[in-house]
Amino acid sequence: MANRKETFLFAFRKSLPIMTGFLFLGMTYGIYMNQQGFNFLYPTLMALTIYGGSVEFIIANLLTKAFDPWAVLIVTLIVSSRHLFYAISMLDRYGNTGWRKPFLIFGMSDETFSLNYSTKVPLEFDKKKVMFTITILNQIYWVSGACLGGLFGSLIAINVKGLSFVMTALFIVMMTDQFLREDHHFSSLTGLFLSLGILAVTGKTYFMPITLFLLVVIFAILEKRKERFYDFD
C-alpha cells in the first residue's frame, strides 16, 4: 500500500492542471469582486462556502442589486442543478468513504467531479484518500486564487492572456480518454452533440440543465423500450 506521501504526490500530480486553471480563474473572480467594491474577505469566504465558480460570479453581481433572497435561491438552484447529476453519478464511488464523504460531496465542483470520475487510481493507492486529497487541493487552489485577486485587485497584472485555456484542454483530454476506453459511444456522443444543439437554441445560461434533463428523458425512454438498452463497461 502506498504511504501518505506517495498518495499525496499522486493526487497532487493529477490536480496540477486544475491548479493552474483555478489559481488563474479564482484570481479573475477575486479581481472582479474587488472592482465591484468588495474587500478580499468577500471573494475568499464566498469561494470557501459556495465553492461553485458560476454561482459566485452571479452572486457577486446580485450583491450590488436590491435584496431578494428567494430570487437568489432560485437562480442558484437552476444554475447548480447540474450537480444533482454529478451526485447521482458518484453515489457508488463516494458511497463507502466514511467521514470523508460529507467533504467529498461538499467539494464536488465541475472540475473535481470530472477528475475524481476520470482518474484511474492504481491498486496500491487507497481510492478514497486520493479522491479526498484531490478535492481538498482543488478547493485550496480556488480559494487562494479568489483571495489573491480580492487582495490585490487590478494590481495583479495578468500579463499572460489565455492561461484559463488549461481548463478547456483538461476537459478535452478527459473526454478523449473516456471515449477511447469505452465500448459504446452513445452517451459521449449524445452529450456532446445534444449540448451543442441546445446551446445553439437556448443560449448559454440554461443549456446545461436543459441538456441534462433531456438526457435523463432519453435514457428513460431507451431503458423502457429495451429493458436494458446496453450493458455498461
Partner: protein, 107 residues
Amino acid sequence: MTLTEQIITIAMAVIGTMATRFLPFLVFSNSERTPVFIKRLGDFLPPAILGILVVYCYKDVLFTASSTALFSLVAGLVTLAVHLWRRNMFLSIFVGTACYVLLCNFL
C-alpha cells in the same frame, strides 16, 4: 444592501449549491435500496457530462465570429490531436494551452 442582507444572500447561494450536491446522497443513502434505474442512470451520465463540459468551456465563444473563438477552436483541436498521438495528459494540456496563449498574444 446591509451586511445582514449580504450574509443572507450569500447563505442562500450556499444552501442552493449544497442542496443540489447533497440531495441525491441523502435520498439514496442506502445502496441496496437505490432503484436500479438510478444506478444505471449514474453509469450512463458521466461520459455525456464530460462532453457537455467541453461544450460548456466553449459556450462564450461558440456562435460568435471572433478571433478568440477561432483561436480556442484551433487550440482545442491541437490538444485533441496531441492527445490522440501521445496519450500524455500533461503534454496535451501543455501544448494546447501554449498554442492558445501564443495565438492570443502574438496574432
